[in-house]
Amino acid sequence: MRPENYPSVSQPPSNEFELFYGPNHPGIEGNYALKVRVHGDEVTSARADGGYLHRGFEKLMEGRLWIQNIALVPRICVPDPVPMEVCYSLAVEELGGIEVPLRAQWIRVMQLELSRIAAHLFFFGGHAATTGMYTPMFWGITDRDLILDLFEELSGGRVYHIYNIPGGVRRDLPPGYLERVSKTLDYLESRLPDYDNLLFTNKVFVHRATGIGAMTQEQALDWGVTGPNLRATGLAFDVRRDDPYLVYDQLDFDIPVEAAGDAWARSLVRRSELKESLRILRQVVAKLPHIDGAIRAPIPNPLAWNLPAGDVYTRVESSKGELAYYVVSNGGDKPYRVHVRGPSAMHAVQVLEHLATGARIEDVAQIMFSLDACPPEVDR
C-alpha cells in the first residue's frame, strides 16, 4: 500500500468528511474498502475500493495443469468454497466430454447444500453483528462448525475441501456418514425456531433492517443483481431450477421470494433458504444409499491430460448468487483462459455504491453485509 495513492483531501471548511470504510472489518466477509463522503450522518457518495485480496488466480490457473487448479479455485470464496470446485469441475468435464457418475452427482449436491447452509449461517450471524447484536454471530459460527466437522470427516479439510475434482469426487462416503449428516440436519432444524426467536422476530433487528439498502426489482435487474439479493426483490429465479445442473431437476424444493428488496427481505430470503436446503439434504440422504456405482469417471493421466480445444460457460447457484466460469482450452494440458464471474463482482461494487449513497453512516456496514458479498470473488 503506497501512501501516495491515498492523498489527504483538503477542502474548505464544511460539514463534509471523507471516510475510509475498511479495509479491515468493514462489515463484509474479507478485506474490502468503501470510500464514503459523509455530511453529518448521511453518506453523500460512496466508492468501492477492491484489490486487497487479489492473488491473480486467473493468471495462476493458466500456468497449472487442469487437475492442479482444483487446489486454487476454492480459495476464491472462503465462506462458500464448494460451488467454486463444482463449477470449475463442471467446466472441465464439459470440455473433456466426461460424464460424471450419478452417485458423484448426488454427493456433490449434498456438499453444495451443506456449504450453502454453512454460508447462510455465517451470513445471518454477520448481518446481526453489523446491527450490534453479537449473540447470533456466535450461534451462527458455532452451528456452522458442525457442518465443517462433516466436511473435515469427508475430505480432511474444514474450509478448503478440494473434494470435487474433474470426473467426480475424491472419495466415497465413510461408513455411517449419512447418519451423521442426518443427525446434524435434525439439530439444525431444531435450531430454526431459536434463530427466529433470537433474530428474525427480534423487534430491534426487524426495525434496524427494514427499509435499509432497499432496491426495486427493476434496479436489481439493471445492476446485474443475482441470487438471494434478486429473489428479495420478488423475482423467483434460481439457477438450480431454471438452468439446472447435476441432479437438481430431480429434487423437490421451493424458491423463497420476498418483495421489499431491503436488508430485512434479503435476510428473510436466506432464512427460508436454510429450510429449503435442509429439505434438499433430506432427499439426498434418503436417496444416496440406493445409488451405487462409481464416484469418479475414469479420466486420463492427469499429468498428461490434453483437453480438446473449445470454450465453455458453466453456471451454478452459490449462496451469494450466480457463479460462473468461462473456461477456454486450446487443446493443451493447461487452461488457456479461465474467467471467474463471481456474483459479488456486482454486489460489492456498483450495487453497494448505489445503496450506500444516501444511507446513514451507521447503516453502511449493514448494507454491505446484507448483500452477502465475498471480496475475494471480486479481486480473484
Binding site: 500500500m1 487479489h54 439493471d222 446485474g224 443475482t226 438452468d243 465453455v312 456498483q350
Partner: protein
Amino acid sequence: MKLTTATPNNVSASLEFLLQEIPGLRTKWAGPRRLRVDLSAETLPALLALLKGRAGYVHLSAISCVDWPEQSEFELVYHLWSYELNVLVKAHIRIPRDPGVYLSVYDLYHPAAFFERDIHEMFGLYFEGSPDMGKFILTEWDGPPPMRKEFDSEAWVMNQFEWQDYRPDWLAEIEARGGGITTRPQDIRKDGKP
C-alpha cells in the same frame, strides 16, 4: 414480436428467427440452453439491442476477454441471459490487439462497467464510453497489463525479487540443539518407526 413462451423447441426456433434480422451471424447450439453466436465487432451493439429489446435479455452475466497474440486479436465474449427464455447467448467478437479499443455497452447493460474496467486493467483494452476506466484492483501496479499472454509472472518475480537463503541465527541455535526443521519424523516418534 415479443418472445414470452418457454418451451425449448419453439424458444430456439423463435430465437434463431429473431437473429435472422442481423446479417452475418453464425449461430451454433452448444447445448439445450446455450447458443453461441459469432459476429463482427461492428454488429455487436445491434445484436445486444435486439436481444435486450425483443427477447428479454436483460441480464449481462459477464464479459470475458481472451488474448490471442498469434492472431494479434482479443476475443470478447458477452454472456447474456434471458429470464423469460432461459437460454444463455454467448456472443463472440474479435477485435485487433492494436490499438485495442472497443465500444462500451454500458448504455445497454450497466453491469458492463465492472467487466470493462476489469478488462482494461488486466488486458489493457480500452472501452470508449465506459463510465470509469480507472484502476480498481491493481492500484499499485504500473507494469504491463498482467493478463496478456506475453506477461510472464514467473520471469517477473525472478527479476523483481532477490532470492536469499533463510538462515537466521535463532534457527541455527535451535538446530545446534537438534531441533528445528531438521528433525525428522522418525526422530520424534517414541517407537522410532517412520
